[in-house]
């Protein structure tokens, strides 16, 4: 298990969405708002369904820092403030890349992230500007 995990760590991280999401590209700014749970709908009006891995998971940490350019503690605080002030909700959490893929593939409007090696045709990869 360990070696393949180590390989996955260095692999490219991709933003993935459910095929129903009509989104060709996404800006980093928009992605930040989406994962901070501050953007509730896609431009086509569909509800956004954010899926993340736990705080402290290396993939979550890499995605947050390298792709979004923010820190995990900032996202966590943003979610807590929304949840406990009645201004928003928390994201869905999954603990493995396989469950991430499964959740994104089966949930309309879903968005998440995954290492390139896990991607299959049931999800859509969205390039980030």
């Amino acid at each position: 298990m360990l070696p393949s995990h180590a390989v996955a760590l260095s692999e490219e991280l991709l933003l993935i969405v459910h095929p129903s999401v009509e989104h060709q590209r996404i800006t980093r700014n928009t992605a930040r708002a989406v994962f901070a749970m501050r953007q509730r709908t896609w431009p086509d009006g569909q509800a956004i369904h954010v899926v993340v891995m736990p705080n402290g998971h290396p993939t979550h940490e890499r995605f947050t820092k390298e792709i979004l350019g923010v820190y995990p503690h900032q996202l966590q605080l943003s979610w807590d403030r929304l949840v406990f002030s009645g201004t928003g909700q928390a994201p869905d959490q999954v603990s493995t890349p396989r469950s991430m893929l499964e959740r994104i593939a089966t949930t309309p409007g879903a968005v998440g992230y995954i290492e390139r090696g896990y991607v299959d045709e049931r999800v859509q990869v969205v390039p980030m500007d």
């Binding site: 800006t27 980093r28 700014n29 928009t30 930040r32 708002a33 501050r38 953007q39 509730r40 709908t41 431009p43 009006g45 569909q46 509800a47 369904h49 736990p54 705080n55 402290g56 820092k65 350019g69 923010v70 820190y71 503690h73 900032q74 605080l77 807590d80 403030r81 949840v83 406990f84 002030s85 009645g86 201004t87 928003g88 909700q89 928390a90 949930t107 309309p108």
Partner: protein
């Protein structure tokens, strides 16, 4: 928290929470609205218990007595659901005691809102909240009772003190929010109008508690504009409010009067991976007007500020250092005038608090904290626990807190 006499909202709020739940569980939401409405139901909650020990002065219970005080407890439960892509229903019940009476634990509706997002595109969001909404005041007010959102057990008391807590907490009315993202950063604004909750804490602070009569809330206003750098590393906010109330006297010889509370807060934060520097500055105008009797009317401006450095020194550990200053009346910084008028010792008009805190996230759901305060002055010490003449100018306080969430 004592029971709010002027608003029957607590019961209404409980009904709202129940109807949200029953609608969802009944499946009604599924058929009429969205297919996945049921999937959007979220339940969250927390329970926090503190132990407060002080050498002098009572803070949140008998902290200066033998065993210290265990009378600082916060319990909350909230539910939210999105029955439609542009609608969020959210409500939270809060049970809190901070010294005072056991009765204060009675659960109350903390917030209960119907949130409608009226417009959204890739960079813009405009919506409204109707119901009991949390006041966006400074960085911490909206979630001031949730330990996991606080950098320390006690928020800087110069700004987030308990004395007039009920006034600023939430309002029953309508708020409008907007958010715009441009490459330069994110701009957010929220304005609200509604009736705040006025509990006994306010009357006591204004010196009206000795009089037979009631302080009732009138329409009040709150607003906040906030700027956030795209990386979230820098945040600035300006919050302002005008809180109005009427004192209805039932004492012959004392007529009705008006209360006006106008706070402003400037908030700045610089946030890095391993450290965060935060500062807030507030000015509060408080006035009682229209009383014929001498010595009841007043119009003063108070001032507060703090600087706080927080260091994340290990994955689950952080420490904090903060210096926090309160001046109750800018025209009487030393408290000489207060003492001359016979309203207690001069040190009751200010407080300078040096605090050092430590937090450990022992588990994603468990937060353990401790902190030490060295305080000069009693400006934010809750009145209920301390007769002014028996307070000490210099005092020390230790706090320990365990908080669990789900």
């Amino acid at each position: 928290m004592s029971v709010c006499k002027s608003c029957p909202w607590t019961r209404a709020g409980a009904r709202l929470l129940l109807s949200v739940l029953s609608l969802t569980l009944g499946g009604w939401g599924q058929s009429v609205w969205a297919n996945d409405a049921m999937d959007t139901l979220q339940l969250h909650g927390f329970i926090s218990q503190a132990w407060v020990v002080s050498d002098h002065n009572r803070f949140f219970g008998p902290s200066s007595e033998d065993q210290g005080s265990f009378q600082f407890t916060e319990i909350g439960l909230n539910a939210s659901i999105r029955p439609h892509r542009d609608v969020l229903l959210a409500a939270q019940i809060l049970s809190r005691r901070a010294g005072g009476e056991r009765d204060d634990m009675r659960p109350e509706l903390d917030h209960g809102v119907f949130d409608y997002q009226a417009y959204a595109d890739a960079t813009t969001r405009i919506g409204t909240q109707i119901g009991r909404f949390k006041n966006p005041f400074g960085f911490y007010n909206q979630t001031r009772d949730i330990a996991f959102t606080r950098p320390s057990i006690l928020l800087p008391q110069s700004i987030y003190f308990d004395r007039t807590r009920s006034l600023g907490l939430a309002a029953d009315g309508i708020a409008v929010y907007g958010e715009k993202r441009i490459p330069l950063g994110t701009f957010r604004a929220q304005v609200g109008a509604g009736r705040p909750q006025i509990d006994d804490d306010v009357s006591a602070t204004l010196g009206l508690d000795g009089h037979p009569g009631e302080l009732a809330s009138d329409t009040s206003f709150i607003g906040q504009v906030l700027y956030e750098h795209p990386t979230g590393n820098f945040t600035a906010a300006l919050s302002a409010a005008e809180v109005n109330g009427t004192y209805e006297s039932s004492l012959p010889g004392l007529n009705d009067g008006q209360m006006r509370f106008q706070p402003w807060i400037l908030s700045l934060q610089y946030d890095q991976e391993f450290w965060t520097l935060t500062t807030e500055y507030a000015i509060r105008n408080v006035a009682l007007q229209g009383f014929d009797a001498p010595g009841v009317d007043f119009d003063i401006a108070g001032e507060s500020w703090y600087v706080q450095y927080l260091r994340r020194f290990h994955r689950d550990w952080q420490w904090l250092l903060r210096y926090d200053v309160l001046v109750s009346n800018r025209d009487d910084r030393s408290g000489r005038w207060l003492e001359a008028r016979g309203n207690g010792p001069d040190h009751g008009s200010y407080a300078r608090d040096l605090a050092f805190g430590l937090q450990w996230r022992a588990h994603p759901r468990l937060l353990l904290s401790t902190e030490y305060h060295y305080v000069e002055g009693t400006g934010w010490l809750p009145n209920q626990d301390n007769p002014p003449d028996e307070t000490q100018k210099y005092w020390n306080m230790w706090l320990f807190q365990a908080s669990w969430r789900f």
